[in-house]
């Protein structure tokens, strides 16, 4: 394989997360429990896919492929999003749990990237983050509403969190060549450090509604892909996804569950999504309207 510019790896990871979760959000259009939420998820989807476009525009010269080709013309194994983004929407509890985890995690990395040494990336991120605030707000309002709502709502949320938390950790999976990105200041903080920042905030949020048990107990989901450190091994017990409460905060001590997305490893869920997302592009390359 030819040498890949580490900036391209970072841009694709960021853009593909937005593109793929944006596609999932768009699946609520016409189906959400009420009109406001139909509009909310449609609007969030529109934002996310537009953000993917901005990031892919930056990736164009590095990849030698144009925006449409990058968004829709890659084979499934060339996408670099985290597995959590490709999971089906499931029930409302899972949808909210996933949106809450994704957008609060995204906020942590965008906050860091505002200080990137890559001026174009930093500028794009500043613009994107002004819009992402509204996604975080939406996630927080619903998170609290379900957590403090009737028993059934709380159960759906906790089920969703149990399922989504282990895979959400992999949003901070180490990028190939990450060391170079950190050294050059393109990525001002390592993914492991950013995970720490997010976990501290997540732990506090979960404790405030007495749902922090999801950090130490969760359902086994999806296929397992060990990290390069090999700490999350196939078949090993999944009762603790490498998280521990130390002192007054939650910290990460082990490997990721469901990682590998950053290296192009995806699940069957992505095959179906990819089929649909790229159908028109594959049928009529270069189509416009």
């Amino acid at each position: 394989m030819p040498d890949v510019d580490p900036r391209l790896t970072l841009l694709l990871a960021l853009a593909d997360d937005e593109l793929v979760i944006g596609h999932r959000h768009s699946e609520w259009t016409g189906w959400a429990p009420h009109l406001e939420e139909d509009l909310a998820f449609s609007s969030i989807a529109q934002d996310e896919i537009a953000h993917a476009r901005v990031l892919l525009e930056l990736a164009q010269p590095l990849a030698g492929r144009d925006v449409d080709e990058l968004a829709l013309g890659r084979s499934p194994g060339e996408y670099r999003h985290a597995v959590i983004c490709e999971r089906p929407n499931g029930h409302w509890g899972y949808t909210i749990a996933r949106q809450y985890l994704y957008d609060t995690a995204d906020d942590v990395r965008l906050e860091a990237l505002e200080g990137s040494s890559d001026a174009d990336l930093a500028a794009a991120v500043r613009t994107i983050r002004l819009e992402e605030r509204y996604h975080v707000e939406h996630a927080r309002i619903w998170f609290r509403r379900l957590a403090e709502g009737p028993v059934q709502a709380r159960e759906h949320l906790s089920e969703g969190l149990e399922q989504a938390v282990p895979e959400a950790l992999a949003l901070f999976e180490e990028l190939p060549d990450e060391g170079k990105l950190v050294e050059d200041g393109v990525l001002p903080s390592s993914m492991e450090k950013l995970l720490g920042v997010w976990l501290a905030r997540l732990g506090a949020d979960l404790e405030s509604v007495s749902l922090d048990y999801v950090l130490s107990r969760h359902k086994r989901v999806g296929e397992l892909v060990p990290t390069s450190s090999g700490e999350a091994e196939e078949g090993s017990t999944l009762e603790v996804p490498g998280l521990e409460r130390r002192g007054d905060r939650w910290v990460h001590v082990g490997g990721f569950v469901g990682a590998g997305g950053r290296r192009g490893k995806h699940t069957e869920d992505f095959d179906a999504l990819w089929e649909e997302m790229t159908m028109l592009y594959r049928a009529v390359p270069g189509a416009t309207w």
Partner: protein, 172 residues
Amino acid sequence: MTATTAADLRDRVRRALTRVMDPEIPTASIVDLGMVERVEVGDQAIEVDLLPTFVGCPAKDVIGEDAEAAVREAAGDREVRVRFVYDPPWTTERVTEKGKASLREYGISPHWEGGPPERAVVVPLLAKRAGVPCPYCGSDRTVTESSFGPTPCRAAHFCRACRNAFEGFKVK
């Protein structure tokens, strides 16, 4: 060709852009919404940089085409290049006084005048007691029903005083 100075031409281009309206807010021009970031008149070409209010604005392409057509009319035989840029980010602060008036006219509250969004109180229901002034009756007995309205840049509010639903720009 009559001698047109670059300054004259620049003014003409600026004036032409004030006639380009946001297709989703027909009372407001892109100049008054603060979307025109740069107008550069060169010997060969005229370059215009625009800022989208929201990156995913679906009206962006139409606005770009309308702006290009308007500038071309003013530009004589110079080449015209219109593009969207993201730096600096568009913010609500860029909307001019005239722009705020044209928003009000269309039933959209330019509410960021009233103070920072921190005034908003999140209640357990989705609606927030935001006090965004109603563009119809002026009351601040209003709630934000959703941050996601009919376009990416607008939120949905409700006035408890005059019982009207209305919209407001999202503060950026």
